[in-house]
Amino acid sequence: MKLSLTIDGAEDHIEIVAPAPACRFCLGDGPERTAHVEAPEPGVYSILMDGRSYEARVEEARGGLVVVIDGYRFEIDVRDPRRWSRRTHGRRTDGVEDVTASMPGKVVRVLVGAGDAVEAGQGLVVVEAMKMQNEMKASRAGKVVAVPAKEGATVAAGEVLVTIE
C-alpha cells in the first residue's frame, strides 16, 4: 500500500510492503526496511527497528495526525492517493474564509453580525476556557456572511465561528 505523507510541511511518501507486526516498508525512495510493530494501547505503537525500541504516540489533531516519539513531535498528514481526497482545513479556495476556534471553550462575546464589514486583525469572537480569554480575529478584510457562534455556547477546537467573504 502506497501512501502520500506531509511530514512537518514536507511532502513524502511511504509504501507498506508487509503489514504489522512483521512490517516491511519503504520511506520515500529509500531502501526497504523492516520493523516489528505492536499497538499495546490505543494510539500507542511499540516499534522495534534496527535493534532499537521506539514508542510512538499518535493522536488526531486539526489538519492531520500528531506523532510524538521521545518528546519529539511530528505533524503528519496521511493520504491514500487512490481512496481519499486531500482533506481541507479552514481556508477555502472560493474566497470565503472560516474563522475557527483555536481552542475548545465557551463563547463569551460575539463582536460582529452578518453583513458587517471587517478589517484584517479585527476581533470577531471571544472564546474563554480555563480563566483565559482568546479573541479570534479576522485574518483579512471582508464581509461577514455568517456567524454560527452564539454567546454562551460551548465550542470545540476547529469549530467555525464566523465566515468572512
Partner: protein, 498 residues
C-alpha cells in the same frame, strides 16, 4: 482532634488535603459544582455535597453554600486549600462565627497581609526590605532625585495601574522627562489618573520565597526557601528547594528566614504561610507579598524537610504546639516540581480542556505526583488548567534534574495537550542546569530556543506509525469532521495490526 473536615476546594489540592486527612483518620467532606460531579476529589471523599453550578462565583466562592454544607455534614473544621476562599478574611471570620475551625491564619492576619499595599506597610513596619520606590506620584524633579539616589534603571508605574499600562523603564536622566510624560498620559487614558511613581528596577530578579509555620502559642519557624523564578506570564511553573542560589550562599536562608518571620510576627500570624521575596543580582532581597495559605508548590519543601505541611496545618488549627524548634529543621537533598497544565505549548500555550484518552503516570524512585486526573476524565473548561504537580527528590540538584527529565519521559497524557514536553526542553537547557534562573527565564528561553531537531531515524519511525495508524483506521467510512471527536482513537487498532 477533629473528627470530620470539609475541603472547600477542588482539583489536585482537594485530593492532596484528603490524603493527609485520611492518614490522620479524619473523615473528609468534598464540595463540588455541576462540572465536578465525577472529579477525583468527589470520588475520593467520605462524604460530598453539591454547592452550585459550574461557575466558581456560584459554587466554590459562595461562603453561604460552603458553610451550609459544613453544617449539614457536621464538620469540625474547613481546609480552604489555595485560591478560591483561602485568602478571604470574611470567610475565615464566617467559619469562626459558625463555630467551625478555619484551617489557616486568623481573619485579622489575612486582612493585614492579604492586600499587597497593606502587606507592604506591615513589612516595612517590621523592618523587612522592600523594593525602593516613591509610592506616590510626584514632580519630575522628585523622580530625578530618586533615580540618582538609587541608581538607574528605574521603573515608572501608574499609581492606579496594572497590566503594564503606564509602565516605562528608564535607563538614564536624559530619558526621564519624556518617559514620565508618556507614562503619565498613558495612565490618564487607561485609568483616568495620570499619577506615576518611580520604583527601582530589579533586573533579572529571582523569585525566592520562605515557608513559615507558626502555632497559636507564639512559636514560629521557617522551613527554608523555594525558588520559583521559572514563570510564564507571572505564573510559577517550576519550583525547587533548595534554591540553586541559596545553596551557594547558605547565609541567605537564615537572613531571609528571619526577615520573613519578623514580617509575619507583625501580623500576629499563625498556621502555614509564605513570604515572597525578589532577589537582585547582588543577592539583596526585597519583600514582595505574603500568601496567607498553603502554596501550590509546598511539596518541594515537604520532600526536603520530611514534614507534612497539611498535617501540621491541621494540628496547629486544633491548638497543638509546634514540636520542633528552628534548629531542629534540616534540609536534605534537592527537590523540583513541574506544574503540569492542560495547555498547548505549540499553540501559544492556549488552554486545552477535554477528555483524557490515555494516561501513563511516571513512577519509580524519588517521584511524587499530586494530581486530580484519571483516564477517561474530561478536564473541565471552567477552572484553572492545573492537572498535576510532578515533583522529584534526589540527593543533589543535578540528580534531581536528571530524575525529572526521566519522569517527564515516562509521563503520557493523551486526548488533550499538556506542557510535559516543554518542561523537558527547559530542564535540558544548559542555563537551567547551571541554575542561572530569573523571572524572565522562559521569555529568553523561548527567544533563543528553536524546536529541537529530531534525529532523522525518528522521522522514519513517526512516518511508519502515522501510516499504520491512518490505514488501520481508514477501514471504516470517514465520519463527518464537524463532531470534533477523534475517529482514530474511537476505532482503535485496525486491519494492519491484527
Amino acid at each position: 482532634m477533629f473528627r470530620k473536615v470539609l475541603i472547600a476546594n477542588r482539583g489536585e489540592i482537594a485530593v492532596r488535603v484528603m490524603r493527609t486527612l485520611r492518614e490522620m483518620d479524619i473523615r473528609t467532606v468534598a464540595v463540588y459544582s455541576d462540572a465536578d460531579r465525577t472529579s477525583l476529589h468527589v470520588r475520593m471523599a467520605d462524604e460530598a455535597e453539591h454547592v452550585g453550578p459550574s461557575a466558581s462565583a456560584e459554587s466554590y466562592l459562595r461562603i453561604d453554600r460552603i458553610l451550609d454544607a459544613a453544617r449539614k455534614h457536621g464538620v469540625d473544621a474547613i481546609h480552604p486549600g489555595y485560591g478560591f476562599l483561602s485568602e478571604n478574611a470574611d470567610f475565615a471570620a464566617a467559619c469562626e462565627a459558625a463555630g467551625i475551625v478555619f484551617i489557616g491564619p486568623s481573619a485579622e492576619s489575612i486582612r493585614m497581609m492579604g492586600s499587597k499595599t497593606a502587606a507592604r506597610r506591615t513589612a516595612v513596619g517590621a523592618g523587612a526590605p522592600v523594593v525602593p520606590g516613591t509610592d506616590r506620584g510626584g514632580t519630575a524633579e522628585e523622580a530625578r532625585a530618586f533615580a540618582r539616589q538609587h541608581g538607574y534603571p528605574v521603573l515608572l508605574k501608574a499609581v492606579a495601574g496594572g497590566g503594564g499600562k503606564g509602565m516605562r523603564r528608564v535607563d538614564g536622566d536624559a530619558d526621564l522627562e519624556s518617559a514620565l510624560r508618556n507614562a503619565s498620559s498613558e495612565a490618564e487614558r487607561a485609568f483616568h489618573d495620570p499619577e506615576v511613581y518611580v520604583e527601582k528596577l530589579i533586573e533579572r530578579p529571582r523569585h525566592i520565597e520562605i515557608q513559615l509555620l507558626g502555632d497559636r502559642h507564639g512559636n514560629m519557624v521557617h522551613l527554608g526557601e523555594r525558588e520559583c523564578s521559572i514563570q510564564r506570564r507571572h505564573q510559577k511553573v517550576i519550583e525547587e528547594c533548595p534554591s540553586p542560589l541559596v545553596a551557594l550562599h547558605p547565609e541567605m536562608r537564615q537572613a531571609m528566614g528571619e526577615a520573613a518571620i519578623r514580617a509575619a510576627r507583625a501580623a500576629a500570624y499563625y498556621n502555614a504561610g509564605t513570604v515572597e521575596f525578589l532577589v537582585d543580582q547582588d543577592r539583596r532581597f526585597y519583600f514582595l507579598e505574603m500568601n496567607t495559605r498553603l502554596q501550590v508548590e509546598h511539596p518541594v519543601t515537604e520532600l526536603v524537610t520530611g514534614l507534612d505541611l497539611v498535617k501540621l496545618q491541621v494540628e496547629i488549627a486544633d491548638g497543638a504546639r509546634l514540636l520542633f524548634r528552628q534548629e531542629d529543621i534540616a534540609w536534605r537533598g534537592s527537590a523540583i516540581e513541574c506544574r503540569i497544565y492542560a495547555e498547548d505549548p505549540d499553540n501559544n500555550f492556549l488552554p486545552s480542556p477535554g477528555k483524557l484518552t490515555r494516561l501513563t503516570r511516571p513512577s519509580g524512585p524519588g517521584i511524587r505526583l499530586d494530581g486530580c486526573v484519571y483516564d477517561g476524565w474530561t478536564v473541565p473548561m471552567e477552572y484553572d488548567p492545573l492537572l498535576a504537580k510532578l515533583a522529584v527528590w534526589a540527593a543533589t540538584r543535578e540528580e534531581a534534574v536528571s530524575r525529572m527529565i526521566r519522569a517527564l519521559r515516562e509521563y503520557d497524557v493523551g486526548g488533550i495537550r499538556t506542557n510535559i514536553g516543554f518542561f523537558r526542553q527547559i530542564l535540558e537547557d544548559p542555563e537551567f542546569r547551571a541554575g542561572n534562573l530569573h523571572t524572565g527565564f522562559i521569555d529568553e528561553f523561548l527567544a533563543r530556543n528553536r524546536t529541537p531537531q529530531a534525529p532523522p531515524e525518528l522521522a522514519a519511525v513517526a512516518a511508519l506509525a502515522a501510516a499504520l495508524h491512518a490505514s488501520a483506521n481508514s477501514a471504516r467510512p470517514e465520519p463527518p469532521r464537524a463532531t470534533g471527536a477523534s475517529r482514530w482513537l474511537d476505532t482503535g487498532r485496525g486491519d494492519l495490526l491484527r
